[in-house]
Amino acid sequence: MKEIPFKNPGWAGNTGEFDLTEAEVRGEDFVGERPRAGGHPSGASAYPYMLAEKTPDAKLFEGDYQARFEKILSRYPNKQGALLPTLNLAQEVRGHVSPETMNEVAGLLGLSPAYVRGVTSFYTMYNKRPVGRYLIQVCTNVSCSLKGGDDVMAAFLRYTDTELGETSEDGLFTVIEAECLAACGFGPAVQINSQYYENVTPADVPGIIERLKAERAGSAG
């Protein structure tokens, strides 16, 4: 695979007065590879990654995911309390939360399907329909907007050749507008799947897209 020169705009480590690696800033050197089963139960509901691999027809839940689901259940005084973490987990596995998924989650937690739909529809992070392997969320709220968030958004739409909220033909990218990502000092901020990218400029966008495409080609080949 060809090495793509890439200035990571993502971690504010190459700005400012600190000499840190990306892993040190992101904490990857500390966290490492996370177990799918969720590690200690205290953090089990904090584990969901937005994975590039999605398995829309996977069973809810089996194997490591069943283990994590049980850990999550053990931390709440009732099953309803586990609803948001369970939906997060279902989305991690399947990539989105369809009406069928909501029904299954309702069954797992002893809640009514209508109730679960009511809750799911309240929260914006539940994808109600399938999204691309990479969900690109661009913040255009006030602090990011002051630093050119709208231009970054336009660049992502242009280089992924998509409309807002639509998935690219190759199924790789969906670009959406995010409300404040709490990275206002390092704006414009962009979240791609689980990762934050900060101080992004329109000029950085092609490089980011190429890197993701290469990552995808690498993992498929």
């Binding site: 480590g13 400012g16 590690g39 205290s42 953090g43 309390g81 929260y123 539940y126």
Partner: protein, 430 residues
């Protein structure tokens, strides 16, 4: 320490590990005296801990500024039912980005604060409610918590004291309103995140119907320092009524944006011109939002002489809120920025109260019309009238928050609104 920039005017208590990757690790934290405050708290007993925090004058860092020790003292002293401690890590006010830094650089400081607070209010269960977008941050926090469990600092019989406290990380799923304390409780219970009517207050009926205390990440992160060194020590910084240090999140048009830990009462213009290295490209200052998107805007002239403590900012006609300082230069399009803020509130309104649900949507629509040059002068009266009916008429303050920037910007930057309206009218005539 600010990250990614440093200023020698900072007082580094909570932020001393920012930019130091070793600071996340349990061994480093303990080596630097970490979890010593927890041991001391166990020796003091819960009531003495509450008294010490009261004596420090520490006020809630989430925005409202309510004294933390007083809040804790509302909890029943003899538990007959389970008590809960909630840590609000749903950081989502546009402009604020301090809790993320506190969690990713110094997770054990927060965990220790959570444990001390839970002990003081006699809770055996604590939840840290993180916003769902914080995947990377919560991974760090989860690893730190796992290490703390393994080290015997959390869980059953902590450090041989006989005290049991379990801490659980909970992730939200993208809703600004869940940062409101009662909405957060509903969300934690697996409901739609809609705020509850108060009273009953959380100390009587909170999460899962039980007595509950909820504090912001920054508030809890300050607690170990206060317990270790005493309330009087903490008062050496800040003013009489706004004590201690505060993380100021500076964003927008400054040369060195970032989090800076400064004593409360720090002059706003010094923050911009000295600490943050001045305005980007030497532009002139136009306006500052001093406390996150939901507080009134200050003009450059109003910023002169303002000190950043709860009382002074209020006297200047705004609020310190969560100390998210958004700096705008002379080229900033105020109407566009206000419209963007109102769009946000329209998107995030939970829809429960009519003035907010309808009001935010109409404000957004009218502002968009003005921005596009299709507005009329009467629109400004309509905006003010709608805003008036949105203030003080709803269960929570999201509605007031949407109205505040609209009203203050019309009062202070009316010319910009009128210029857009007149340009549109002229274009229409031509």
């Amino acid at each position: 320490m600010a990250y990614p920039y440093v200023s020698d005017r900072e007082v580094r208590l909570l932020s001393k590990s920012f930019g130091d990757p070793k600071g996340r690790r349990l061994e480093t934290y303990v080596e630097r005296g970490g979890y010593g405050a927890l041991k001391k708290a166990f020796e003091m007993g819960p009531d003495a801990v509450i008294d010490e925090v009261k004596a420090s004058g520490l006020r809630g860092r989430g925005g409202a500024g309510f004294p933390a020790g007083v809040k804790w003292s509302f909890m029943p002293k003899e538990p007959t039912r389970p008590h809960y401690l909630l840590c609000n890590a749903d950081e989502s006010e546009p402009g604020t980005f301090k809790d993320r830094e506190l969690m990713r650089w110094d997770p054990h400081q927060l965990i220790e604060g959570v444990l001390i607070a839970a002990y003081a209010i006699r809770a055996k269960q604590a939840y840290i409610y993180c916003r769902g977008e914080f995947f990377e941050t919560t991974q760090i926090l989860a690893k730190a918590l796992e290490d703390a469990y393994a080290g015997g600092y959390v869980g059953k019989d902590i450090l041989g004291s006989g005290v049991d406290i379990d801490v659980t990380i909970h992730l939200g799923a993208g809703a600004y309103i869940c940062g409101e304390e009662t909405a957060l409780m509903n969300s934690l219970e697996g409901r739609r995140g809609q705020p509850r009517v108060k009273p009953p207050f959380p100390a009587a009926v909170g999460a899962f119907g039980m007595p509950t205390t909820i504090n912001n990440v920054e508030t809890l992160s300050a607690v170990p320092h206060i317990v270790s060194n005493g309330g009087a020590w903490y008062r050496q910084w800040g003013t009489e009524r706004s004590t201690g240090t505060k993380l100021f999140c500076v964003s927008g048009h400054v040369n060195k944006p970032g989090n800076y830990e400064l004593p409360l009462g720090f002059p706003l213009m010094d923050l911009i011109e000295d600490v943050c290295g001045g305005m980007t490209n030497g532009k002139a200052l136009k306006a500052v939002i001093p406390g996150g998107s939901s507080v009134p805007i200050l003009t450059a002239a109003e910023c002169k002489g303002v000190n950043l403590d709860y009382e002074s900012v209020q006297a200047a006609g705004s609020m310190l809120g969560c100390a998210a300082v958004i700096v705008m230069d002379e080229d900033t399009h105020i109407v566009k920025q206000v419209r963007r803020i109102v769009d946000f509130y329209a998107h995030e309104s939970c829809g429960q109260c009519t003035p907010c649900r309808e009001g935010t949507a109409w404000l957004a629509k009218i502002l968009r019309r003005i921005e596009d040059g299709k507005g009329a002068e009467e629109d400004l009266d309509t905006l003010l009238s709608v805003s008036r009916h949105m203030t003080g008429t709803t269960i929570c303050v999201l509605s007031d928050s949407a109205a505040a920037p609209v009203v203050s910007s019309i009062q202070k930057f009316k010319d910009e609104y009128l210029a857009l309206i007149r340009r549109g009218e002229r274009a229409g005539v031509a």
